[in-house]
Structure formats: C-alpha cells, structure tokens
C-alpha cells in the first residue's frame, strides 16, 4: 500500500471549498442580522456597508447555497439510482452500535474503540446535520425572501415562524461548526493543528489505519 490514499475527488474538494466559503459569508452576514441589537453586530453591518448591502450579499449567497445543495442532492440521487455511488454516508445499524461502543470506550468500559469504515458515525452525523439544516434554512429563507408568494398558500404565521427558525437554525449550524467541526478538523489531538485531507484529497495510510481501520483493511485486501 502506498503512503497516501486518495480519499476525496477533485469535485468533492471543490464542493467542500464552495460550501465552506458560502457558509462563512452566510454566517458573517446572517448572525449580525439575528443579533442586530448587539454592538459587535452593528459594527460588522457598518463595516460591510450597511444593512441593505448585508441583506443583498446574504440573499445572493443563500441562493447560490440553495443551487449547490440541490445540485449536490440531485447528483448524489442520480448516482445512487444508477448504481454508480456507494451508500457510504447512509447511517446504518452499525453506526449506532459504533457510537455505543465508542461511548463505552470513552468511559473505560472497554479497551477497544470502535472500528470505522470510510465514514464514521460522527462524520455521517455531521453530513446529515448539514443536509437537514440546509433544507431548513433554504425552505425558511425562501419564505423570507418571497413572503407575499409564500402566504398565497400558507398561513401568515409561517413568516415570523420562518424568521425565528432561520436564525436559530443558522445559529445552531454555526455553533456546531465552531464546536464540532473545528475540533474534529483542527483541535483533535489526532489531526492537530490541521487536517488537510479535504483540501488535498489525500490521507496518509497511517491515519487511515488509525481512523478508518475497516476501510484500510478492505483496501489492503483488494490490492
């Protein structure tokens, strides 16, 4: 086995970079709108050129994010339907067993940590959290962008409810990324200070063995 294994295709790396950039832009222009009474929020809005421009950028980035999300889901669905993609991110019974075993390991009830395939339960959780969160912010964002059209067939209360859900979902996504993603991709002692895999597409065989042992074994067998 070579020293490095290709983990992500160029397309997947570009997808990650795009979503990361859009996520940052959306958080930077969205959170100050949610917390507009705070002085830090007003400073950001002022620095970006005022609320009208902040809203414009947020909406443009949101529409791009919507297009990316639907493209991603459409392509994945097409690949899965035609049998050209493995269901490597679909949660399975094994993931729940892995999570339980991992917790037992953390608590010292067993000395064997769970062994993972290509994506462990934490990664699947984060992926589906992002997809579900994206669906929520996209749906509520569209209601906020087109309130007149939305209330043609939905009750008016959908607008303030969407506003509250949009801001809270955005805040939660931001906190998850700050806490969870930053830990797993940067602060985790296994990868500290920076896990470059999603940018280079490569992972060392050593790390693959450590973090995704089942995949490592399978790749080795197929060699």
């Amino acid at each position: 086995m070579k020293n490095y294994v290709t983990r992500f295709t160029l397309k997947q790396r570009i997808e990650h970079a795009s979503v990361m950039t859009l996520f940052l832009v959306l958080a930077l222009t969205g959170l100050p709108q949610k917390f507009f009474e705070a002085s830090w929020a007003q400073a950001i809005i002022g620095a970006l050129g005022g609320i009208d421009r902040v809203r414009w950028v947020h909406r443009a980035a949101g529409i791009l994010f919507t297009v990316f999300t639907f493209t991603h889901l459409g392509v994945i669905s097409a690949l899965v339907v035609t049998g050209r993609a493995a269901l490597s991110l679909v949660p399975t019974r094994q993931d729940f067993l892995d999570a339980i075993q991992q917790l037992e390991y953390y608590f010292g009830m067993t000395d064997a940590p769970a062994k993972f395939d290509k994506f462990d339960y934490k990664q699947k959780f984060e992926y589906w959290g992002l997809v579900l969160g994206a669906v929520i912010v996209i749906a509520t964002g569209l209601v906020l962008l087109f309130p007149i059209e939305a209330t043609r067939f939905l009750p008016g209360e959908i607008v303030p409810a969407s506003k509250l859900a949009h801001g809270n979902e955005g805040l939660m996504a931001f906190l998850v990324v700050i806490v969870w993603h930053i830990y797993n991709a940067h602060l985790n002692p296994d990868v500290f200070p920076f896990d470059p895999t999603i940018f280079t597409g490569k992972i060392s065989a050593k790390r693959l063995h450590h973090e995704h042992e089942l995949e490592y074994e399978r790749l080795k067998e197929n060699e």
Binding site: A161, V176, W180
Partner: protein
C-alpha cells in the same frame, strides 16, 4: 430709494428717560397719552391702515403687564416726535420689530433660527411666521393655556392638518376631554426649533416621538395601553431595518415601515376604531400600500405587536421552544463528546 412715511407728529409729555429695566408707569402713561386713542392709525404706502392704538387693559393682562414698559421693546422710539420709518406694508413693520423679543428671549429666538420657518424668512418670504404671529404683541398670554390653544395657533396657517389632527384620537382627547397627556403640535414638532418633516432623518427618527409616550409605562397604564409596542416593533423586520438605517447616513435611508406608515400621522385613530388603518378589516389595504399583491394571509404575518404565545401564534411559539431545547442539547452533547474524547486521549497516554 424707499419712500418713507412719517409717524404722526405727536407732542407727548416727558419721554426723555431712556429704557430702564424697571417699567415706569409714567413711561407707559406717556405713550398711551397718544397711543391710547383708538382712532390713531397711519396709512402705509401699500394702502393698508396700521392702527397705532394700544389697548391699555389688554397690555396690563398680558404676561408683560407690570413688568415691561413700552420702550423696553420699542427701543428706537426715544424721541418725540418719532423719526420717520421706511415701511411700505404692515408686514414690513411687523418683521422689523419682531427681533425686539430676542433682547430678553434669546434662547428661544436662537432656536427659531433652526426652525423650518426660518429659511422661509431668510429667503424673504414675508408670509413666514415670526414671534408675534404666534404669540401676539401687546396682548401676549401664555401660549399653552389652555393646552388646546397650541393647535389653534398652528391652525391659523396649517388649517388642513389641524382639522385632521382635531379628529384624531389625540386631537379629540385634547379638545374634547382636555387631556394633558396627548401630544399636540409642539410635542412632536417643537415650538421654536420646529423640525421639518421633510428634513433628512426626520422620518427615521419619528418612532422616538411615539416612544416618548408609548414606551412610558406609567402614562400608558392610565389608558390600558401596552408599552410592548416598541420592543415588538423593533424586534421585527421593519423595526430592525429602521434602527440600522438610522446609523447610516440619511441618504442611505431606504423605505421601511415606521409607526406612522401603518397608524397614520395626524389622523391616528384608536386601533379598534372602525376607520383605523390597522384594524383587521383595513389592515390588508395598509400592507398593500408597500406590498402590492399581498393577500389576506400576508397581513397576519405581522403579530400585531403581540409576543408570540401558544394561544396567539402557536407555530412561532413552537419554533421558539423547539430551538430553546435543541440548541443547548445539541451543543452540550457535542461538547460532552469532545471532552470524553480528550479525556480518553489523556488516559491512553
């Protein structure tokens, strides 16, 4: 140049004394020896007749009665007969004399320089009001006694708006109930430094005017009104936009709904009045002024200044509760996982 006219040459007794801080009744008596004559008048080059009569009783009843003498204001009239004056019209005469007030009332005089009326005076508009047009001259009385006198004063010129105001919830309370809390013209527009509603920033500042009473818990309690109206407005899309646009330059101020856009300005009614612009039967029309194409459902997107509760906005309330639980649960769970992971890493070493 200007043709002049001579004030009637009148012989008066002892007018030699200069203006003194204490009024001297003999000064007044000396002047009234001539000016107490009702028929005393002068015809100006414009053809107008200017009465030169001063009503002794009216002056005595005025705020200045017993405090000021004639020459305290008419400082130039030190000689008898008085020197010739170059006035063509009555208005010129008034405008020439109004600055006499500033000798004592300098603060209010300088405020008028910031008034919306002043640029009109400055560019030579003779109809623009000066001190005496609102306060009177020899018969000056307190301008706000009774309080309804204020709107009557403004109504002399601003008839349309005053009539509208008189029919509003504020105007009716003032005029019919002699209510001392409701705003009259000067509460919003000020008396001397009268702001122009077309001035930059005035529109975006207007919610503050409403808030000065409607955020006052003590006052609102008297009328069974909620002070929540400001917070609920500011927390919503329109209020947020207005607050943030105010911090930008006035030119950046785009259109967003303020208190007055839904409730009206001089024509404000009770929210439950039949002709109210915000009562359920009329609110869609009010929304459509800015949101053409809005349907009945759209207007209920605004929760009418109510905080969302299980009863009045169950969907909003449910979303609020859901995230109040979900966010701490999610983030707490993730932090716990991280700590457990770190702990295990440390133990393994």
């Amino acid at each position: 140049m200007l043709s002049s006219f001579l004030l009637p040459l009148v012989v008066a007794v002892g007018l030699a004394a200069p203006a003194a801080p204490q009024p001297k009744s003999e000064d007044i008596e000396a002047c009234l020896a001539c000016h107490g004559d009702k028929s005393m008048s002068v015809t100006l080059p414009s053809g107008e007749t200017q009465s030169l009569y001063v009503d002794r009783a009216a002056f005595a009843r005025s705020v200045h009665g017993g405090k000021l003498g004639c020459t305290d204001c008419h400082t130039d009239l030190t000689e008898v007969p008085h020197a010739a004056k170059p006035f063509q019209t009555r208005r010129e005469f008034t405008i020439a004399y109004y600055e006499a007030c500033k000798r004592c009332h300098f603060a209010n005089y300088s405020k008028t320089l910031d008034s919306v009326h002043y640029p009109a005076i400055a560019r030579g508009d003779r109809m623009a009001p000066v001190c005496v047009d609102c306060h009177g001259a020899h018969n000056i009385s307190p301008p706000n006694q009774p309080r309804s006198k204020i709107s009557q004063t403004c109504a002399v010129c601003h008839q349309g708006v005053s009539a509208t105001y008189a029919k509003s919830v504020h105007g009716r309370a003032l005029i019919e109930e002699k209510n001392a809390d409701v705003p009259t013209c000067t509460d919003c527009h000020h008396a001397h430094d009268i702001g122009g509603p077309h001035a930059p920033g005035w529109r975006l500042k207007s919610p503050e005017l409403c808030a000065s009473c409607h955020a006052n818990a003590g006052m609102m309690k008297k009328y069974g009104l909620s002070t929540n109206v400001m917070q609920t407005y500011l927390a919503d899309f329109h209020g947020m936009t207005a607050s943030l646009q105010r911090q930008q330059s006035a030119e950046g101020a785009r259109v967003t709904a303020l208190c007055i856009d839904c409730h009206g300005v001089h024509n404000i009614t009770k929210v439950n009045a039949k002709n109210s612009s915000v009562i359920k039967a009329n609110i869609l029309k009010t929304c459509q002024r800015c949101h053409p194409g809005a349907t009945e459902n759209f207007s209920s997107a605004w929760l009418s200044h109510y905080e969302p509760t299980l009863k009045n906005a169950p969907m909003v309330y449910a979303v609020r509760i859901a995230y109040m639980i979900l966010i701490p649960f999610m983030i707490g769970g993730l932090v716990l996982q991280i700590l457990l992971h770190l702990w295990r890493v440390v133990v393994n070493r």
